[in-house]
């Protein structure tokens, strides 16, 4: 019963966030779900699109047709892990330094 009550509260919070997101989409020029085509693309965007299409044709950009795991592209996964590890290491280091400093300050205060 408690779990269901908490689940309902969590769903409500998520619904509020989604509602605000939809409002944001609506406010930023009616580009919400199923909206019209919007602005016409700029000449620069069209040129870039043409370049991308040519790159796909000449295999400069590799487009995957399969939908499974691509074990050959583990570099992508490794990069994600690296970013996460570096950020976590920074937070842990800062946390350790902060705790040590606080302990030292407490000790100094206790001695005084």
């Amino acid at each position: 019963m408690k779990f269901l009550r908490h689940l309902a509260a969590a769903v409500l919070v998520v619904a509020i966030i989604l509602g605000l997101g939809m409002l944001w989409a609506h406010a930023s020029g009616g580009t919400g779900v199923g909206s019209g085509p919007g602005r016409a693309p700029s000449p620069e965007a069209l040129l870039r699109l043409k370049q991308i299409k040519e790159n796909i044709k000449t295999s400069v950009i590799r487009v995957r047709s399969d939908n499974g795991f691509d074990l050959a592209d583990t570099g992508n996964l490794i990069r994600t892990c690296e970013i996460e590890a570096v950020l976590a290491a920074v937070v842990i280091t800062v946390n350790v330094i902060w705790r040590r400093r606080r302990r030292r300050m407490r000790r100094t205060a206790a001695r005084a």
Partner: protein
């Protein structure tokens, strides 16, 4: 911490509430680990491919809702004491709130721009540039916030992992 093997007779009596706490800690630990692995995989689009990325993202949304539900007590407790608590608690609360918002918008925008999962279910939505941009931005923000969120609880993670390492499975202490 006593890491050595002990005889059942030497064990202190384990109360029902203690057993419940241990089961809950185990559930939290493994669910959080699952979330971290699933998120890391989902973010690596080049590795997973679009279909796995999308289905993983939808599954992540469901598990995240369970994660938030399981920690709802913490949300209420910390929000109530926000003004009285120190800087660290406030920082953790802010990181968690930002992560909740960015993760929710990331998954929602991902569903709205879905190219495989939703069409497979017979639902077709006309994706807009707003949601595409929202997905990219919130995904980047989430990649920054997830490791911070996990690292802020590193002492709990290390403590629980150490306890699991010394406890034989199925045994409570």
């Amino acid at each position: 911490m006593n890491a050595g093997p002990t005889t059942p007779a030497a064990d202190p009596p384990v109360t029902a509430s203690r057993r419940r706490i241990l089961a809950r800690t185990r559930l939290d630990f493994w669910l959080d680990a699952l979330l971290l692995v699933a998120y890391t995989l989902a973010y690596s689009l080049g590795f997973t491919g679009i279909a796995t990325h999308e289905w993983l993202g939808i599954g992540l949304g469901v598990v995240l809702l369970v994660h938030l539900t399981l920690h709802w007590d913490w949300v209420i407790r910390t929000t109530r004491k926000l003004l009285r608590r120190g800087g660290r608690e406030r920082f953790v609360w802010l990181v968690n709130l930002l992560l909740l918002v960015s993760m929710t918008l990331c998954i929602a925008s991902g569903i709205l721009i879905s190219e495989v999962a939703l069409p497979e279910l017979g639902i077709t939505l006309r994706a807009s540039s707003f949601w595409r941009q929202m997905h990219d931005t919130t995904a980047t923000l989430t990649l920054i916030l997830v490791p911070i969120h996990a690292a802020l609880d590193w002492r709990w993670i290390v403590g629980v992992a150490r306890r699991f390492a010394v406890w034989p499975p199925g045994r409570s202490r």
